[in-house]
Amino acid sequence: MTGARMHLLTTLRGDIARIETSGGASTPDRVALGHAEADATLRGGLARGAIHEVFAEAGRHSAAATGFVAGLARRVAARRPLLWVRQDFSDIETGALSMSGWAELGLDPCLLVTVRAADLDTALRTAADALACDALGAVVLDVWGRSRQLDLVASRKLTLAAQASGVTGLLLRVAAEPAPSTAETRWIVRAAHAPPPSAGSAWGAPVFEAQLVRNRHGPVGRWIMEWKCDECLFAKPVNQPTSDPQPVAAAPVHRPHPARARRAG
């Protein structure tokens, strides 16, 4: 390889690196989620001033994904205000955000402002505006279903706004499939069984099966995470088998009725 070609390659690499980091910005500010393995994979935690996507593949996992996004927003925003942008339609489909439940997760309803957009265009514009406002801790865009408007261009706009202001954008996509975007990370969240903490109780804290399917600056992974409502952080569930990330409770097995089986035999 000649010296000139080597030089050209070096220049190109430099250009790409500059584009990737948008003008030589320093390493982004990261917030630890609390889950040690996930934090290690993310090199310290979730990046601030970027877009993160959370998908719930089917509508039935919407509440789990909402809880996961609420948790991420709490980690990222800490005690700063949070703007939640959602479509009218999403209320009917998955229910409206309940502040009683919000408070029960350890989050502060005082810091939440909700925008109910009539359509996705309005929602996108509002989210882009809000991402430019540095008084906010995080902006959540809650979108139901597949959408043409939420393409690479829209995603790039949101990313640029987030980078400029340092506000984190969280996209909650329910009943949608991942599409190309400029997001920093992409998660697929499912509900997981939440075993009660002790024998005396019958109900446990929220547990998510979070699959990191895209990470721009590192490997991906899959973890079972529990949201600690008191400490406001994610953690590895205590009484969950660590080797098997699948939900633990087996599906009920079909067993023939003993009396009927005897009669048949």
């Binding site: 919407s62 309940s98 439940g101 408070a103 402002v113 406002c133 540095d134 109780s201 446990g204």
Partner: protein, 531 residues
């Protein structure tokens, strides 16, 4: 321009638009254009005392000797080719309001004098239009051009001006001369009740001068104190303020154009310049705007008003400019310049004293300002009820526990709200997503008042692997409309790890009783989803 300027000369111009119905106004104008060709008299009739009587008429009809109050049958006998329209009082009121709106360009103090008059308080704004005579000509010419028959007068009191318009047109009364001006007019010009006028005529008092020559005590004894006050005001001895259609804005700035403007660029540039002027005017009083109104006066008389509210008093021109840009950009029915706007006015309809705050060192103040500015912008675009914050309510009923309120007004209240503390170490008691209307589900339970074993929601069957409950929520009897049943809530988890909040409506065998020996199954509802 304050209405309560006492001591300086307070003038009132009364404009009477005599063409009543908007229908007749248009046809009247058309009639005038080809008046020489064929004169068809036009009247508007209304049903009074079980007879159709003339309510209003045009000049041609008046020339035939017709008069207001004449029965239609008589009028037809006098003039068979008469063209008749029914009275449309709603249209009249609408037309009068439209004229009043147009008159806003002369003074912000415009009062309706139903059914056919307008009172304009022109104190302090005469010089803007080149004197009283020029101003009156301007008003009358514009209205005449639109086909209205106008009679106007300027006088020191509203009643005096109104009295003059009923018999004379274009009279401008010098201060102190009110009594001389109205004395020769007949008593009917005062606009008092019909019974009073009849009484005065019977007493031989034909003109206002005759009435004024009697002592006040005599008149009060016969016709009441109200009539005496009216008479005094007509004579210029006392005055009552007019009641304007709209409250007077605190600060007004406006820009008039010799050539009407139509392009968006000029309109937005004008608005930003006006915003700067408004802010400068308000800052002298140490005020900031809470509500702003931009009025666009079209050359053809239409006026469009656009309101913008803010959560915090605004003191920066750029902020006002941006709010209006958002609002104008999102109008369902966009601003239509038509043939152009000849006046654009920006007013602060509600203002507040601004308390200066330390901005550089206190990050919270900065954050709060930024957030409320963002909320103002979003609200200007999509409406106040779509940007919300939450307030806790003192009730156990889940759907009433939280009040959703507009963020613009309640941001401060919501950020200080005290929410019920959660129990430490307990998993969530309430779901994160709550359905506004609980959805009916089919449930199979082992015992009628036990937790569900299996349920069908949105056509999918869920087998319950874990259930916690019941949590009993009794309805509030003190505000129950109709009968509401006690609910037993269960937190359940299905085989896939999905977690739901269900309830059974009614206590089995206590609220849900058997009817005619048949067991009634309780209804189950899906109310929320846990994270």
């Amino acid at each position: 321009m304050d209405g309560a300027v006492i001591g300086s000369r307070e003038e009132s111009a009364s404009t009477q638009a005599k063409a009543i119905s908007s229908v007749i106004a248009v046809s009247h104008e058309q009639q005038d254009t080809d008046a020489s060709a064929s004169i068809i008299p036009i009247v508007v009739v209304a049903k009074q005392n079980n007879a159709l009587r003339i309510f209003a008429l045009d000049d041609a009809a008046a020339r035939f000797g017709l008069a207001v109050g004449l029965p239609l049958a008589n009028a037809r006998a006098i003039c068979p080719q008469l063209k008749v329209f029914d009275v449309d009082e709603t249209a009249d009121v609408r037309t009068l309001n439209a004229i009043a709106e147009w008159c806003d360009r002369f003074t912000p103090l415009v009062a309706l004098d139903a059914p056919d008059g307008l009172l304009l308080d022109i104190t302090g704004c005469v010089h803007l239009f080149g004197g009283e005579a020029a101003m009156m000509r301007l008003v009358c010419d514009a209205l005449t051009a639109q086909g209205f028959a106008v009679s106007a007068a300027i006088a020191g009191t509203a009643v005096c001006a109104r009295t003059l318009t009923r018999h004379l047109h274009g009279r401008i009364v010098v201060p102190g001369e009110e009594a001389c001006a109205v004395k020769p007019l007949p008593v009917s010009a005062l606009g008092a009740d019909e019974s009073v006028i009849t009484g005065l005529r019977r007493a031989g008092l034909k003109t206002i001068g005759d009435v004024a020559s009697r002592t006040r005590s005599e008149i009060t004894a016969r016709f009441g104190a109200g009539f005496t006050a009216l008479l005094e005001q007509a004579l210029g001895h006392g005055d009552a303020p007019i009641s304007p259609r709209q409250p007077l804005p605190d600060t007004i700035v406006e820009k008039r154009f010799a050539d009407p403007v139509t392009t968006e660029a000029v309109i937005s540039a004008t608005l930003s310049r006006l915003a700067e002027m408004l802010v400068a005017a308000m800052s002298q009083q140490g005020k900031g705007a809470r509500q702003l109104a931009a009025q666009f006066f079209r050359t053809d008389g239409a006026v469009r008003t656009i309101l913008v509210d803010t959560g915090q008093p605004v003191t920066q021109g750029a902020v006002i400019d941006r709010l209006f840009a958002e609002r104008l950009g999102s109008l369902n029915d966009p601003l239509d310049p038509g043939f152009g706007f000849d006046l654009i006015r920006l007013s602060a309809s509600r203002t507040e004293i601004v308390v200066p705050q330390q901005r550089d060192l206190d990050a919270n103040v900065h954050d709060h300002d930024e957030l409320s500015a963002l909320i103002d912008r979003i609200t200007a675009r999509i409406g106040g009820r779509r940007v919300v914050v939450y307030l806790p309510q003192d009730t156990h009923i889940p759907e009433r526990a939280v009040l959703t309120v507009p963020a613009q007004q309640y941001l401060a209240a919501a950020s200080l709200a005290v929410w019920p503390a959660r129990a430490e170490g307990e998993p969530p008691l309430r779901p994160l997503r709550l359905f506004e209307r609980p959805e009916l589900i089919k449930v199979i339970a082992q015992v009628p008042d036990g937790p569900p074993a299996r349920f069908v929601w949105r056509r999918a069957t869920h087998a319950v692997v874990r259930a916690e409950g019941p949590e009993r929520v009794a309805m509030e009897w003190w505000r129950c409309e109709g009968e509401m049943l006690t609910r037993d809530y269960f937190r359940v988890e299905d085989e896939g790890g999905l977690r739901f909040w269900l309830y059974r409506d009614g206590l089995y065998e206590r609220e849900i009783v058997q009817q005619e020996g048949m067991a009634v199954q309780p209804n189950w509802f899906m109310h929320g989803l846990f994270a």
